[in-house]
């Protein structure tokens, strides 16, 4: 399972935002609850104060005017209190001995208080637990007042407040997603740029990746990758140089051997000697051919990253190479079928493509069954040019066909001169051109069809 960094960043970004929202909502609910309960306490205190104030007022009033007959200042103050009708506030009044004097309607039976101040208590009502906030006060050592309020509403209000504080945040969610998405996209664009650069490289390019504008996080990665590329390039260059030098150094001694051999052939009259010399000459020729093929391969490998690519009509290259080599086939009595066609426009290097074509043609001309027909043609589709060379041959098994591309592999019993490098060279050129090489059977394994599929250029 491969994770996208962007998906991760968006996922964690949104998770974090969600957590922050919850935290913010809890905090605002908590603050709201504090404020609401403070207000509630003040209300209760005020109510008690009012009772105290009004009872003292009535007491003063009655004692001043001596009208206390049949009037009770407490009852009157409670009557006023009741007439004002504080919302949800309930009042219970006792005398100092605990005798209930007054109880507002639907007030629960508060416990008789013994200290001034706030008390939290729980009462059952209709099987439900109700939590109350109660303020007790002893007024002038005459009576006790308990002022209480059911805190259900207050708590509900606090939660509502917290949720309402969340509403604007819900509106912000789309913006947050948008922001997180674009933020991570923008942040990752540097990585995407490097990915694109690496993806669009020539397949054989060992040129270091540009280290400009690379984010700090992946700089060490790019840096060590570049180090690796440079070491790899040096190693490959050394190997190519060694191969090329080795092959090159073989050419002069081979030339000397060949010259001596030919001198011997000229000066000898003995048919047996001439026979031996002929065989030696053909072996020297094979060595010469191998050395040349190795040189060709080394040359293509050492220059493949700097090959100049342009639009090429592959068909016209094939025509020139066919013209150059066809006598090898026609003089052997082989027929060449090269149908008329529109141009085969591809992107490539003409000189190197010519090496590919010549290798395929030479193979076909060499190994084709006498008197058979060789097909040189292409299937054209919108995207591709499938250039192929097909020839009849002796029976070839699938395993043999698969091994053909291997360097120095030669079919068993092959008496033709050759190094077994032709298809390795072809494979190399195919790779340089980002093309595809297929070796298929032809006429029930009594033949070979080599196809190179190029991208078509319109």
């Amino acid at each position: 399972m491969r994770y996208s960094l962007k998906t991760r960043m968006i996922f964690f970004g949104l998770m974090l935002h969600g957590a922050i929202w919850l935290l913010a909502a809890s905090a605002s609910s908590y603050t709201a609850a504090n404020v609401i309960f403070e207000t509630l306490d003040n209300d209760l205190k005020e109510q008690a104060q009012f009772i105290r104030f009004s009872s003292r007022l009535f007491q003063n009033f009655y004692s001043q005017f001596s009208v206390n007959e049949g009037y009770d200042p407490l009852t009157d103050s409670l009557a006023i209190t009741e007439s004002i009708g504080w919302d949800n506030v309930h009042v219970v009044v006792w005398d100092t001995k605990g005798q209930l004097i007054y109880r507002s309607s639907s007030a629960p039976g508060f416990d008789f208080p013994n200290v001034n101040g706030f008390v939290d208590d729980t009462y059952m009502k209709k099987g439900k637990e109700n939590r109350w906030r109660i303020y007790n006060e002893n007024i002038d050592s005459i009576f006790w007042v308990s002022v209480g309020m059911n805190t259900k509403h207050a708590r509900q209000n606090a939660i509502d407040f917290g949720l309402k504080a969340l509403y604007p945040m819900i509106l912000i969610i789309p913006f947050t997603i948008f922001g997180v998405y674009f933020g991570s996209k923008k942040g990752l664009s540097a990585i995407n740029k490097i990915t694109a650069e690496v993806a669009n490289r020539q397949p054989n390019s060992l040129v270091p990746i540009s280290e400009q504008n690379i984010p700090e996080e992946i700089f060490p990665l790019v840096n060590s990758l570049n180090g690796l590329l440079i070491r790899l390039k040096n190693a490959i260059d050394n190997e190519h140089r060694f191969t090329a030098n080795a092959a090159h150094e073989l050419q002069t001694p081979l030339a000397a051997i060949k010259t001596e051999l030919q001198l011997c052939q000229r000066s000898s009259d003995n048919p047996e000697v001439i026979d031996v010399l002929d065989r030696m000459a053909s072996r020297v020729d094979r060595a010469v051919y191998t050395v040349q093929q190795v040189l060709t391969l080394a040359r293509i490998e050492s220059q493949d990253s700097q090959l100049k690519m342009g639009t090429v009509d592959l068909r016209s290259v094939v025509i020139e190479d066919l013209a150059d080599l066809a006598h090898l086939a026609v003089d052997r009595g082989l027929a060449i079928d090269f149908p008329e066609s529109e141009p085969w426009q591809i992107k490539g290097n003409k000189e190197v493509l010519s090496i590919l074509i010549r290798n395929l043609l030479t193979n076909a001309f060499r190994y084709a069954t006498s008197g058979s027909q060789i097909e040189v043609s292409a299937n054209i589709s919108d995207q591709h040019i499938e250039f192929y060379v097909a020839n009849d041959s002796k029976f070839i098994t699938e395993q043999e066909r698969e091994k053909m591309i291997d360097s120095f592999y030669r079919l068993p019993g092959n008496e033709m001169p050759g190094a077994g490098l032709g298809l390795s060279i072809v494979q190399r050129i195919v790779t340089v051109h980002q093309a595809k090489l297929d070796i298929d059977s032809w006429k029930n394994d009594h033949g070979v069809k080599v196809t190179v599929t190029f991208s078509r250029v319109s």
């Binding site: 060949k258 025509i319 090269f338």
Partner: protein, 219 residues
Amino acid sequence: MRVLLVEDDYQLGESLKSALSIENYAVDLETDGAKVIPMLKAGEYDMMVLDLGLPNISGDEILKKLRSADDPIPVLVLTARNTTEDKIESLDLGADDYLTKPFDIDELFARLRSLLRRSSGRARPVLISGDVELEPKDKVVTHAGKTVILTAKELSILEALMSRAGRFVSKSRLEEGMYAWGDEIESNTVEVYISRLRKYFGRDFIETLRSVGYRVKKG
């Protein structure tokens, strides 16, 4: 004929020297590049066979010095470097011909003969294919001994085919030879001239490889 053979590989040099001696060339072998110019000044050589990878002074340097001093001696370059660019570079530096190692001594002899002919101003040899002969210098064509008069374009195509007798020549290469005449080349111009040549020399004189090109028999 005196030939200066410059080859740093002594064994190959010795082999070549004996090969050239059989062909009646008088050969001096030299392995040191630095001694070549003084030797050329001192001795009367008819031509030089020059290896490029030499110690002290490279073959390229020798060629440059020779040609900048206007020395016209025919030079055949013999080298292990075998890319087209290498060949072009040597020819541009003033080499008259180029042969890559390893080579066929018969080809070496043929090239030396051709070099001598050119330097002595003699014409190229007569081109022969079957009973048709073409003398390249005066453009005289004979068919079974009888002279045939051809137009310039017919001659251009015939010469292109006969100078590569035995091998096919692509249609586009034949067309290139005709552009020199400045006329418009139609898509079937080559076919028209091929059929004219067949009328002169017989149907089988020119062989067709469909969609590729034409050839005449060798010899």
